[in-house]
Subunit: 189 residues, 2 copies
DNA sequence: CGCAATCCATACGGTAGCGTATGGAAGAAT
DNA sequence: ATTCTTCCATACGCTACCGTATGGATTGCG
């Protein structure tokens, strides 16, 4: 009768996708190799080719999974705290610019590197970026800022956050925290 | 007597490094394969292993070449227009955020993705970033801004520029140019 | 129990790429 | 002219991976 998922001990697509995301964070897209994943999951690729048509099938599934997750995150935040747009801007900077959320940030970078060469990945990244920018824009507009300024601040915010994550992830200065605070203020106020 | 370079018709290290940088921009580090480069240069890998010990030797040379080029660019700009710090900030944003300099931007991204997994690459990227940030900081300080603010603006400027280049390279909005102008103003003034 | 579907292991052929070994061509040195 | 150095071609073995084919094990179901 094809019940959804009663109690599955064996691997399913989700397990492969999760493993693929792990490697994506570590090694980039080119690191996603089916035989490597199989070894990591303690199975052989016979399993893989049962669940997936080929490697590309997995990659598409990874893209779709990541996209849905990011979009859902945005929607969650949107519903979460209406009327608290200012602290939210700081929070975004906090979460993404720190060494916390390291893996998530790694995936972000890998995704964008991937998007340079893959049309499907580019489309996914673009959709996620659009959603985030729109989210940020609404936050600033809710504080009474005009449309152009809101869009600009939103773009500045996200570009800054991602750009910072690219900068070697190291510290350039002892006053990094103060600098970050100055910048967050500059963007949000 | 080993004269430096009278008139060389054959390939030398520089040719391989240049080809490697081309592929780096197109496919990322993992795209740099010696047999692929050889085919592109119309030779066999017999040539490659004459000029380089192994693939890693080439990668290190690529890193060193890129690093020296970026540092030299900074120094050139530093000497070029002292006293014109404001238009220079706009110019940086212009040059890097546009679709011009596309290949250079591609290499920047590939380098940073590379730096996630390779210590040598990370060190190079960090050195280049440090030089650029210091360059920007001096620019703002020359306009009379205090140290912390200058450092912060410099960091914001570069993080924004690189972050923007990650955002799918597509347009999110019809008013993109106006937004960029607003942002440039926000960063520089 | 027997049967069928589900999920995985094993084995195979094929390509791409690394690094080595060796020979050959072309010019420089003597 | 012979020899030596420089630079590249060819051929080889080896590993990592992809995708397929096929058989085996387990589980739900009649």
């Amino acid at each position: 009768m094809a019940k959804p998922e009663p109690n599955r001990q064996q691997l399913d697509r989700a397990a492969w996708i999760k493993a693929a995301l792990d490697i994506l964070a570590e090694k980039g897209v080119d690191g996603i190799r089916v035989e490597v994943l199989a070894k990591r999951l303690k199975v052989t690729k016979g399993s893989f080719y049962w669940h997936f048509k080929d490697r590309r099938d997995l990659l598409d599934a990874v893209l779709e999974t990541w996209k849905e997750g990011r979009i859902r995150d945005i929607q969650k935040q949107t519903r979460a705290a209406p009327g608290e747009e200012l602290p939210r801007a700081y929070h975004v900077i906090e979460v993404y610019s720190a060494n916390r959320n390291r893996k998530g940030m790694m995936i972000e970078i890998a995704m964008r590197d991937w998007a340079r060469r893959d049309a499907a990945a580019a489309a996914v990244v673009e959709a996620v970026d659009a959603a985030r920018l729109e989210f940020g824009r609404r936050g600033f507009e809710a504080r009474g800022m005009p449309p152009l300024e809101s869009s600009s601040r939103s773009l500045l915010l996200y570009a800054y956050v991602f750009g910072l994550s690219l900068m070697s992830c190291g510290k350039f200065d002892a006053d990094m925290d103060e600098m970050k605070r100055w910048i967050a203020d500059r963007i949000a106020n």
